[in-house]
């Protein structure tokens, strides 16, 4: 098991096309270490189950299946030294960019990020969200769940199907199930028009003689233990059932392809503002959310129809995240602590930005621990070499001592990893 650092320049949540592109671009833009976290056992996101062709026409001018499109980015990311943390759930993120993860080998652990890219994709609307009446027998699934079973796990969820929704996932599944020998009785669409691509109507429904009915929906599910049939009905323009149009369609499985919702439970925990229309974060032109250092790309922002655009957004967000992380890292390097040394109780400020010395002197104030009723040297060193000093006639805990570091000490201070202040009798 490889070791995971406690801090990364860029942490990407989600290893779909958006997350992989973000990680690749962040590395190329100069991020030193990039970690991609995914709950799945393998990187690639939803593309791994989209085994059909049609991906990459814009990016590669090639007609690739989903897994091939994903693998090109996986190979590139790994080649660039992007680290993958798989089989790992992200439980929480904060506005200070702390990421809490959980997995079998680390238990629950925190990882700090100089910047974060949210790339969690989307999830499917379910039966509960569209309020389908009737019993709750087995045999009602979302199209994406069925897609994973059929294409990845090798399990057929039924033999006679009705599909609700004419989106691309529904139509692509209609073809896939037909190829595997199942009968797809009908595709029903509540809208008066097709909601997916026309080419999918031709190559997925027409080619396999699957009837599509527009302005139709499922009125009722019939069956107690297992779906036995559904009752379809025609609707008017306000989605009200038209009396006398119902039809019983025997089937053993109903697939729902009724839309996707960006997956933003985590984003909300970090205070990321969500647009109620897209369901995803508000982003600026660098794909930064309202929380500084937290970026977002892909289906987590809005539901895309072409993966090529997801990749493009991922690349842009990764570049922005790397730039942000570099700024934070440089400022971390510039910030050094001021340490209370011999006979000093405390020093204010507690740390300083070394570069500020270029703009003028920096004033320190301190109190000693025990009184010295004799001339006292107040010294600032980098631990070994003296940076500056002054002599006070005496030093008493009740009286604050002020000391300035002048711009003349600029070069000495740049070399220091910390500054130690001490008060010693001359």
């Amino acid at each position: 098991m490889k070791t995971i650092q406690s801090k990364y320049d860029v942490v990407v949540i989600g290893s779909g096309p958006a997350g992989l592109a973000a990680a690749i671009a962040a590395k190329k833009e100069g991020a030193e270490d990039v970690l991609v976290i995914d709950r799945d056992l393998e990187p690639g996101g939803i593309l791994l189950q989209c085994i059909h062709n049609g991906f990459g026409l814009e990016t590669f001018q090639q007609d690739l299946p989903g897994p091939s499109y994903a693998q090109r980015f996986i190979d590139e990311a790994v080649g660039l030294g992007v680290e993958l943390l798989l089989d790992t759930m992200v439980l929480d993120i904060t506005s200070q960019r702390k990421v809490t993860v959980s997995n079998r080998f680390m238990g629950i652990a925190d990882i700090d990020a100089r910047s974060i890219v949210l790339a969690m994709g989307c999830r499917e609307r379910t039966r509960a969200q569209i309020r389908l009446p009737g019993f709750r027998p087995a045999g009602v699934f979302t199209a994406g769940t069925a897609q994973r079973w059929v294409n990845v796990e090798g399990y057929m969820p039924g033999s006679r199907f009705v599909i609700l929704g004419s989106g691309d996932i529904g139509m692509i599944m209609a073809r896939r199930l037909s190829l595997e020998g199942a009968k797809v009785e009908r595709v029903l669409e509540i809208m008066p028009f097709l909601t997916g691509l026309t080419r999918n109507y031709v190559q997925c429904l027409n080619d396999y003689d699957i009837p599509l009915q527009l302005s139709h929906t499922v009125n009722r599910i019939i069956g107690k233990n297992r779906v036995e049939a559904i009752e379809s009905v025609q609707v008017d323009e306000r989605w009200n059932p038209i009396p006398g149009t119902s039809e019983i369609i025997p089937c053993d499985t109903l697939l729902l392809s009724v839309g996707l919702i960006p997956e933003n439970e985590l984003s909300k925990k970090a205070g990321v503002r969500i647009d109620p229309i897209t369901g995803g974060p508000y982003v600026d032109d660098t794909f930064q959310t309202n929380v500084p250092g937290i970026f977002a790309a892909g289906n987590v922002v809005h539901v895309y129809d072409l993966v090529d655009w997801v990749t493009e957004a991922g690349l842009a967000s990764g570049r922005s995240a790397a730039r942000f992380a570099t700024t934070v890292r440089n400022s971390e390097i510039r910030h050094i602590p001021l340490v209370a040394g011999e006979n000093v109780r405390y020093v204010v400020p507690h740390e300083l930005d070394k570069d500020n010395l270029a703009n003028g002197e920096i004033r320190l104030q301190l109190r000693v621990k025990t009184p010295i009723e004799a001339p006292t040297r107040i010294e600032v060193s980098d631990g070994e070499n003296l940076v500056t000093r002054k002599v006070e006639p005496y030093a008493r805990p009740g009286e604050i001592i002020t000391l300035t570091i002048s711009p003349r000490a600029y070069d000495d201070v740049q070399r220091a990893g910390r500054l130690v202040v001490s008060a010693v009798k001359r």
């Binding site: 056992l41 393998e42 791994l48 085994i51 059909h52 062709n53 049609g54 026409l57 007609d63 299946p65 989903g66 897994p67 091939s68 994903a70 693998q71 294409n151 990845v152 796990e153 090798g154 190829l179 595997e180 020998g181 691509l197 026309t198 080419r199 109507y201 031709v202 190559q203 080619d207 129809d305 072409l306």
Partner: protein, 122 residues
């Protein structure tokens, strides 16, 4: 001579243009399309319709029981059913690399069946 116009949707890319095919009986006189590939599609669709087919074959020794595969070129539409039967009978062993030929010259069509991804042996 009577020419007639036939309309058809091009499925070559996501634009999904409507093609207008001017025919004189069986002879295609002209095709109005969004691009050259659309014209080619119309000719092919009327003489020898083909489709890209993506499916899976059984794999042993990998993380998943199925390996996703696809046809190296569009496959003759009337023989898709036969192709599926051939794929259902096929079985491969992990490891497999993306682009590996899983079945060569399938059903004598000159078309190969290609692995869509790597699958390591576990």
């Amino acid at each position: 001579m009577e020419t007639e116009v036939q309309r058809m949707i091009c499925i070559t890319c996501p634009k999904g243009c409507t093609l207008e095919i001017l025919r004189d009986g069986d002879v295609i006189v002209d095709v109005k399309a969004g691009c050259k590939r659309g014209k080619d599609y119309a000719h092919a669709e009327l003489t020898d319709p083909r489709r890209m087919i993506a499916s899976s074959v059984v794999i042993e020794g990998a993380l998943h029981p199925l390996l996703p595969v696809y046809t190296s070129a569009p496959f003759p539409k009337p023989r898709i059913h036969e192709l599926m039967q051939t794929l259902r009978a096929a079985k491969v062993q992990a490891p497999v690399k993306m682009g590996d030929v899983v079945l060569e010259d399938v059903l004598g069509t000159g078309i190969n069946i290609i692995a869509s991804r790597d699958m390591t042996r576990i």
